[in-house]
């Protein structure tokens, strides 16, 4: 299956990646697996650590699946399917 991953902010700056089409053999995988895959890229290693987070912990990134915060779904266990889009966005907290 193919999953479109959009990367924003400091992650984009560190990795040089703004958009990535991940090709995964399975028909569906948990979001955690997507993060592990992305985390292997240079500059995205923070996502590998993120993939080890337990659900319910606060995160340094907003994770959107099809525009919906995954914490309104099943967190890092949310099932990602073919053709879906994951957006990873470090929220800017300063004012």
């Amino acid at each position: 299956m193919a999953v479109e991953c959009k990367i924003f902010g400091t992650l984009r700056l560190a990795s040089g990646i703004d958009r990535l089409l991940l090709d995964i053999p399975e028909k569906s995988v948990p979001l955690r697996r997507i993060l592990e895959e992305l985390g292997q890229r240079k500059g995205l290693d923070e996502l590998k650590k993120l993939a080890q987070n337990r659900n319910g912990e606060s995160l340094p990134f907003i994770l959107l699946l099809q525009g919906k915060n995954v914490f309104d779904l099943d967190g890092l266990e949310t099932v990602v399917k073919d053709g879906q889009r994951v957006s990873i966005f470090p929220p800017s907290g300063g004012g």
């Binding site: 959009k6 924003f8 902010g9 400091t10 984009r12 700056l13 912990e57 606060s58 995160l59 340094p60 907003i62 959107l64 099809q66 525009g67 919906k68 915060n69 914490f71 309104d72 967190g75 957006s87 966005f89 470090p90 929220p91 800017s92 907290g93 300063g94 004012g95």
Partner: protein
């Protein structure tokens, strides 16, 4: 607009102050701004830009909310302050500088934190979230939800920022979009140029709403991501 605003602009076409923008906003639009009240929560890097843009645009009344005092380390980006303001309350210093731009504007100040007890007993048309932590932002979100007021959120970090509008009556709230984010205070690195860019977009979103209503909003239903490392403005769609 202007439910609780006591201020009314003198005949706008005669007002030289707005003569270089009246063709853009129209006389009716200028009058709507004059009869509008905007609350700016946080008068730091973003809030000093937002409040100044709104004053120069012709908003009739501002409510400034901040619990902090001006420090030397604020002067790199908080455009309303200067050396003489160090140690002074931000709401008082910003109010004084804004009144130097336009004496006819009404400004109310609240030297307080935005927390679970936050309340202001004033009719407000729009609220600018220029705070520096998500715990306070979520309290502000609840306040706007209960009062059915537009909330225009913005955040800044290094060379990046984001703007998101939560329209009155919206079921999607700020706390839904930013769920699971660490709510603590951010003492972030930030350049003045980033604060001015993001703050200007935030202020323009409010101006468009005050002049044109909800149809004027550009940052509802998607996060406007601002990237000054590549001069990229990009929407992140929300469902």
């Amino acid at each position: 607009m202007g439910k609780g605003c006591p201020y009314s602009l003198q005949v706008a076409e005669a007002n030289v102050t707005f003569s270089r923008q009246i063709d853009i906003l129209g006389l009716d639009g200028q009058k709507r701004l004059a009869h509008s009240t905007v609350a700016v929560a946080g008068v730091g890097g973003l809030g000093t830009v937002v409040s100044q843009v709104l004053v120069r645009a012709g908003v009739g009344r501002l409510i400034l909310i901040d619990h902090d005092k001006v420090e030397l380390s604020d002067l790199n980006r908080q455009i309303l302050y200067d050396q003489g303001d160090i140690g002074k309350r931000k709401v008082e210093a910003s109010s004084r500088h804004l009144l130097e731009i336009r004496q006819d504007i009404k400004i109310d100040i609240f030297h307080k934190r935005v927390d679970s007890t936050f309340f202001i007993d004033t009719e407000v048309d729009a609220v600018a979230d220029c705070l520096d932590n998500y715990d306070s932002r979520f309290f502000l979100d609840r306040f706007c939800e209960e009062r059915d007021i537009l909330l225009v959120h913005a955040g800044i970090s290094r060379l990046f920022g984001q703007v998101l509008s939560i329209a009155p009556g919206s079921k999607m709230r700020l706390r839904d979009v930013f769920k699971a984010v660490d709510g603590k205070h951010y003492k972030t690195q930030a350049l003045c140029a980033a604060c001015m860019t993001v703050g200007a977009i935030q202020a323009m979103e409010i101006i468009n709403y005050l002049v044109y209503g909800a149809k004027g909003l550009s940052c509802a239903k998607s996060i406007m991501s601002v990237d000054l490392s590549s001069f990229c403005l990009e929407r992140i769609p929300l469902a």
